[in-house]
Amino acid sequence: MSISTATLDPTAALQAMAAGATRGYWRSVARRLGRDPVTLTCAGVLLLIILAAIFAPWVMPLDPYKTSMLRRLQPLGSRPYWLGTDELGRDMLTRLIYGGRLSLSMGVAPVVMAFLIGGFFGIAAGFIGGKTNMLIMRVMDVFYAFPSVLLAISLSGAMGAGIENTLISLTIVFIPPICRVSESVTTQVRGFDFVDAARASGASALTIVRVHVLGNVLGPILVYATSLISVSIILSAGLSFLGLGVKPPEPEWGLMLNTLRQAIYVNPVLAALPGVMIFITSICFNLMSDGIRAAMDIKA
């Protein structure tokens, strides 16, 4: 499990910028995405899962928490439990749909927060340079000394289980790589002549960053951050699987994989279902990320 699965070479996106990353450019990127069937399908699937998760009470009338000792581990296809019931008699389909809420938000939220925090520090380090840069990047190096899974588990293990703690530890895991990418991209942009010209005009640093740097830097950082979402989903599911994340009886795909382990001898397909959801969302996010990267590549 590693964050380097999602390495995006920022210079590729920067070249796109240099070739003319203007409003017309983004429109052409959107057009290219619109013609890409793979990306569109994945976007559609994800949209379906997300909408189902948001509107779950209206989609599924059944209660995800209602247990029933009598109806435990019913096989697939038994009415009205289309996907069977879990080890406590709760409807699987309902729990899978409701599970989307926690699994997806715990996947996306840490990346969003890490984007804000890591992006801020990375851009600051890249633009200011000098001692500030050294200080920030050295601190990030300390976190980089840990493999991401180990860091997440150690932090979660120390803080204890629970949604908030998991969010905190995952955010901390994702801040260093985003910070690194931000710093690298910002340093490159900072070296361009038009930034020098802006400095020579006497504008304040904040104005220069706002007008000249941010517009050119946020694109590549954002693309990199979105490629981390699939990693985050798997990592948060993994934490819940270990009992370090979401606590029962909340429905969450990783946690469900854990509690259903006892069922693999009785109803193996059932036991594997939550993982299928994780797999589908992860692969969709990855394909979309690849699609966006390809659409941004002007040379292709």
Binding site: A145, V149, L155, A271
Partner: protein, 317 residues
């Protein structure tokens, strides 16, 4: 080059300090008293105080940190609260088990990745390329602990040909090179190798493709070199990047094996970490994290040096 290695090593020292600080503070992130994990809730106050003094919890934090640092650097990682055995011993034997699994997984994934990645880069038809890219994508996207469960379901539960858990037959704690032990290793190795397989295939494919597009390859073809000779040169050029990624993945395997080890009850560092967390065995938690992080740092350093040595384009300051 030696100078460069020395520089990087010295560079590591402040980072190592930071790491030790982080690991030390893990204990204090924990809710509740560390003592309350050891003693029963109705223990008399003097016992609690005596234990506090014994473990040094009554001193101010910086003092505690330095005492811990000095003790740890001397090799004494403390004693496990759960088993009472020295932490170094427990972590040591667990580390060996993890290493066995990691080496097997890296070998498997590297060999496959080289074959697949190179084939995809050389492929004339889009089908081969598409196939390999899809395999790599699956490798990167699949939740490996779920794949582990699926493998157990297929091979252990349904087909019954491979054991579902353990490092060896009959609750073994160590590994030997023999049939039954190898059988126990098959499923965990496969599960562990999917992610490195995915990442490395992608990297190898794109690196080899990039090298193939360089003009010196065309020049070699024009000179009439045999395919095998050209391949050799191509691999030489692709080697630094690919080795770097391999090294990184190996590091991630060792540090991130906890999920697979939990599924298979493989007594490695990951499994140890897991049980330490639930027993609130903080010395083990600290010791394991420290060892794993330290190993990861040294591995990264080695990868860095190897890459710098192999790639003459990188400036060695």
């Amino acid at each position: 080059m030696l100078l460069y290695a020395l520089r990087r090593l010295i560079y590591l020292v402040p980072v190592a300090f930071g790491v030790s600080l982080l690991v030390f503070s893990l204990v204090h992130l924990a809710p509740g008293d560390a003592i309350s994990a050891i003693v029963p809730p109705d223990a008399p106050q003097e016992v609690i105080d005596k234990l506090k003094e014994y473990y040094g919890f009554d001193k101010p934090l910086p003092v505690q940190y330095f005492r811990w640092l000095m003790v740890t650097l001397s090799g004494d990682f403390g004693t496990s609260i759960g088993t009472g055995r020295p932490v170094a011993e427990e972590v040591g034997s667990a580390f060996v088990n993890t290493l066995i699994l990691a080496v097997a997984a890296i070998l498997l994934s590297s060999i496959l990745a080289i074959i697949l990645g190179t084939a995809a880069a050389y492929a004339k038809t889009r089908i081969v390329d598409r196939l390999v890219t899809s395999i790599a994508l699956v490798g990167v996207s699949v939740p490996h602990f779920w794949l582990a469960i699926v493998l157990v379901i297929i091979f252990a539960v349904e087909l019954g040909v491979l054991p579902p858990m353990g490092i060896g037959p009959e609750n073994a704690t160590g590994w030997r090179l023999d049939g039954p032990h190898l059988a126990h290793m098959v499923l965990p190795t496969i599960a562990l190798s999917v992610i490195p397989l995915g990442v490395m295939t992608r990297t190898i494919r794109s690196t080899v493709k990039e090298v193939l597009s360089m003009e010196f390859v065309t020049a070699m073809q024009a000179k009439g070199l045999r395919h095998s000779q050209i391949l050799f040169h191509v691999m030489k050029n692709a080697a630094p990047t690919c080795l770097a990624v391999m090294g990184l993945q190996a590091g991630n395997l060792i540090g991130g094996s906890i999920l697979i080890e939990t599924v298979f009850a493989w007594p490695g560092t990951g499994f140890l970490l897991n049980s330490a967390i639930f027993r609130r065995d903080l010395p083990i938690l600290q010791g394991t994290t420290l060892v794993l992080a330290g190993f990861f740092m040294l591995l990264n350093l080695a990868v860095d040096i190897i890459q710098t040595t192999l790639d003459p384009r990188i400036k060695r300051l």
